[in-house]
């Protein structure tokens, strides 16, 4: 009964918040509501047996995206209040409702369907080199997806580098915030590292660790503790490209000398996965941090 109450409340709150985000009369209100929405989504996913995703969503949805949105607000053109919503209200509503009905009819039978795949993952888990199934899928069974995912992060950063950016509108950090930041940031770094380490056997892993590390770097940067990085410095370039390079090198080497593209030799399973994870975490953290708070002179040539 309590379970149901909790699930029902979460579901209702999510829907209400989503509508409130869309309808909020001010941009700022919309952004703040969206951050709350992200946190609630993380909570929901934690309830749905996905602690990995809850961790990731909390670090990103509420943390990084929040910082990004607030930063973008500073530059955005002001919004005319009469212009919040436009277009034809009823046609849009009708199309949406029809689509919602269609989609609900489509998902209705899914809750009852069962599949053999999860069981298959469990039987192959022994051979994968890690004991946490999600990490095994990410870094072994579907490692190619993860390699491409690292490329997505890199591409977003390269896109950023081509822009004539506005300098970020920093204000002097509020003293209490600065003090908190100094306390929180190292904590984020430690937790990020811990998540990475734990990822082989329990929820966590390269991406969650990377996102938390990125959040720590962002806080340190906003506090002015961290010096400006620059694309001119080779360690920065190497750091950004490390994850993709290591992953790709493993792929090419296993293809050339081993059993095939991304087929890890059995004895080397765990060390290779850990090496890739460490490299990926560093790259994700650095790249995301630069994407969020990279000043023009830091990211440009």
């Amino acid at each position: 009964m309590i379970e149901w109450l909790l699930d029902g409340t979460l579901a209702a709150l999510l829907l209400i918040l989503a509508i409130a985000v869309i309808r909020a009369s001010g941009l700022y209100a919309s952004v703040v509501l969206f951050i709350a929405f992200g946190l609630l989504l993380a909570l929901t996913w934690a309830r749905l047996g996905a602690p990995d995703l809850a961790l990731a969503e909390a670090a990103i949805g509420a943390g990084l995206t929040g910082v990004l949105l607030l930063g973008a607000l500073a530059h955005a053109r002001p919004e005319r209040p009469s212009n919040t919503l436009y277009g034809y209200r009823w046609p849009a509503a009708l199309v949406s409702m029809a689509l919602a009905a269609l989609l609900i009819r489509a998902v209705w039978p899914l809750a009852e369907t069962t599949q053999p795949l999860p069981a298959q993952v469990m039987t192959e888990l022994e051979a994968s080199g890690v004991s946490h199934p999600v990490t095994a899928v990410l870094l072994n069974f579907r490692a190619w997806d993860t390699l491409l995912e690292l490329l997505v992060v890199l591409f977003a950063f390269l896109g950023l580098r081509q822009l004539r950016l506005a300098p970020l509108a920093h204000t002097e950090p509020w003293p209490l915030l600065a003090a908190w930041g100094r306390l929180l940031a190292p904590l984020a770094l430690v937790i990020g590292g811990y998540l990475l380490w734990r990822g082989t056997s329990a929820p966590g892993g390269a991406f969650q660790g990377g996102a938390l590390l990125a959040a720590g770097l962002v806080v340190l940067r906003l506090n002015g503790v961290l010096p400006a990085l620059s694309w001119r410095q080779w360690p920065v370039r190497l750091g950004v490209l490390l994850g993709v390079t290591v992953f790709l090198a493993v792929a090419a080497l296993t293809h050339a000398f081993g059993a095939g593209w991304l087929t890890y030799p059995v004895a080397w399973n765990t060390p290779l996965i850990v090496a890739i994870e460490v490299a990926a975490t560093l790259s994700i953290a650095l790249t995301l941090a630069l994407l969020v708070v990279g000043e023009p002179e830091e990211v440009h040539p």
Partner: protein
């Protein structure tokens, strides 16, 4: 398969090297593209010779892992991608107006190349989602190389691309929820005609049509492709929009239940006709050179969509060949047209078509390239465009009931003839030619001409080409 992987790895690794070294030299990327082309040609030879190849990545067979699949068609697309990249790279290295000198053009073009190869080789619905995102991001980054005036178009492109991905992703989620597999070959043997499958395919189709700029979801394309630097416009029009088209073709010809495919085919063919007419109409009326070429892409994609729709509607395997011939010949012709148009626009100092007055005198080679490429788009024999159109028209003429579609193709041809001759006629008006701002650059003009000559050369190898492509459908 090793050769196909080489074709992927070479541009990707070279791009990473260029980034680490902060180098801007075109030499490495041209060499890598050349290597990739040779590897792709080898892969094509192997696959035509020995048949389809499969590679389970990481040694895990689907449904657990991802599988690469090299068919004669994907081999051909590997060669096509590398060839287009090579031709554009020569132009970009030679031209003074290619906006590649002070930007990351070279690494980004290598990454675009690698993303496309990853898409052609993949055979997994979720992996395609990631490659589509890669394509979208790198394409937007390349558009922004043109500077702040292109930002608005880039922003629109990016948002629509993200929305399209989410349509596609929700469709993939529904299919996975229903069948528990993501590999196309496995899925093909499982699908049934139920509400979930229908909705999933509908969502994926909408997303892919938006990404491929197929009518009526094409409105983002002209500003983005016209606003990008010239070399980038060529790559975007020739290659990037073909990626989603490839996935669309695979999911409808392999996964979709036949009854649904027939209905959807009819709608797609109608949308193709609308694309032909509306794209042609806009190209006839726009005052800007590159916008004209971009609208012609919308119209030409209409032929491809029509071929796809009709092949589903009538279940005619010949039309597979027509579809892919359209893609190949349009790609080559469009590269030539964009490079010529961009070179003339930059040299004559105006984006307007009226600036091309007397261009046959001031920039004869570029204008010739534009006209020759235009000839293939219209479908004049013996070009690649003619081959494709001929294959498409054959079943249409066979029965009087199909004459509606034949009439639509003829109308589209008429429209393309009008917009090409509109430019060419102006260029022959030598009474008062526009004075160029710079000395016309001869080498760049010749480099713009090569792809147009290749598309006419396609007619010479038409027989093996049609045979290979026919092999695809079996």
């Amino acid at each position: 398969m090793t050769l196909a992987l080489m074709s992927l790895l070479l541009p990707l690794a070279s791009a990473l090297v260029l980034l680490v070294l902060r180098a801007r030299s075109p030499v490495l990327m041209i060499l890598a593209t050349l290597g990739s082309l040779i590897a792709a040609a080898g892969a094509l030879y192997q696959v035509v010779d020995g048949g389809e190849q499969l590679l389970a990545l990481g040694g895990w067979e689907p449904p657990l892992g991802i599988r690469f699949r090299l068919t004669p068609l994907s081999g051909l697309l590997l060669v096509f991608t590398a060839l287009i990249h090579l031709l554009v790279a020569f132009y970009a290295a030679a031209s003074r107006h290619s906006q590649t000198r002070h930007t990351d053009y070279w690494p980004l073009s290598g990454l675009l190349h690698a993303s496309l190869v990853a898409l052609w080789l993949s055979n997994d619905l979720f992996n395609w989602y990631v490659t589509l995102e890669l394509l979208g991001l790198v394409a937007v980054a390349l558009v922004t190389l043109a500077g702040p005036k292109a930002y608005r178009a880039a922003m629109r492109y990016l948002i629509l691309s993200l929305v399209a991905s989410l349509f596609y992703l929700l469709g993939v989620a529904l299919l996975y929820g229903r069948y528990g597999v993501l590999d196309v070959a496995l899925l093909a043997s499982l699908t049934e005609a139920d509400a979930t499958t229908h909705t999933a395919l509908l969502l994926m189709t909408l997303g892919l049509m938006l990404k491929a700029a197929l009518w009526p979801l094409h409105l983002w394309l002209p500003p983005a492709h016209a606003g990008a630097p010239t070399a980038v416009s060529a790559l975007l029009s020739a290659l990037v929009v073909k990626g989603p088209l490839f996935i669309l073709w695979l999911i409808w010809s392999e996964i979709a239940p036949p009854a649904l495919a027939r209905d959807m085919g009819f709608i797609m063919a109608l949308a193709g006709v609308a694309a032909l007419l509306s794209g042609g109409w806009s190209a006839m009326r726009t005052p800007y050179i590159k916008t004209l070429v971009a609208y012609s892409t919308v119209a030409q994609l209409g032929y491809a969509l029509m071929a796809l729709g009709l092949l589903l509607y009538w279940e005619l395997p010949e039309l597979h060949v027509a579809l892919w011939l359209f893609v190949l010949s349009h790609g080559l012709a469009k590269v030539s047209m964009f490079l010529a148009a961009g070179e003339m626009q930059a040299t004559l100092g105006s984006k307007r078509i009226s600036a091309l007055t007397g261009a046959t005198q001031t920039m004869p080679v570029a204008m010739f390239a534009f006209a020759v490429a235009g000839g293939s788009l219209i479908g004049l024999p013996p070009s690649g465009g003619f081959l494709a159109k001929w294959l498409l028209l054959q079943p249409l003429f066979a029965e009087p009931a199909n004459w509606f579609w034949a009439f639509a193709v003829l109308l589209g041809t008429l429209a393309s003839a009008v917009y090409v001759f509109r430019v060419v006629a102006l260029a022959f008006d030598r009474a008062k030619p526009t004075r160029p701002d710079f000395d016309p650059h001869v080498l760049a003009q010749w480099l713009a001409l090569i792809p147009a000559l290749l598309v006419w050369g396609m007619a010479l190898v038409s027989q093996p080409l049609i045979l290979w492509l026919t092999g695809v459908t079996h």
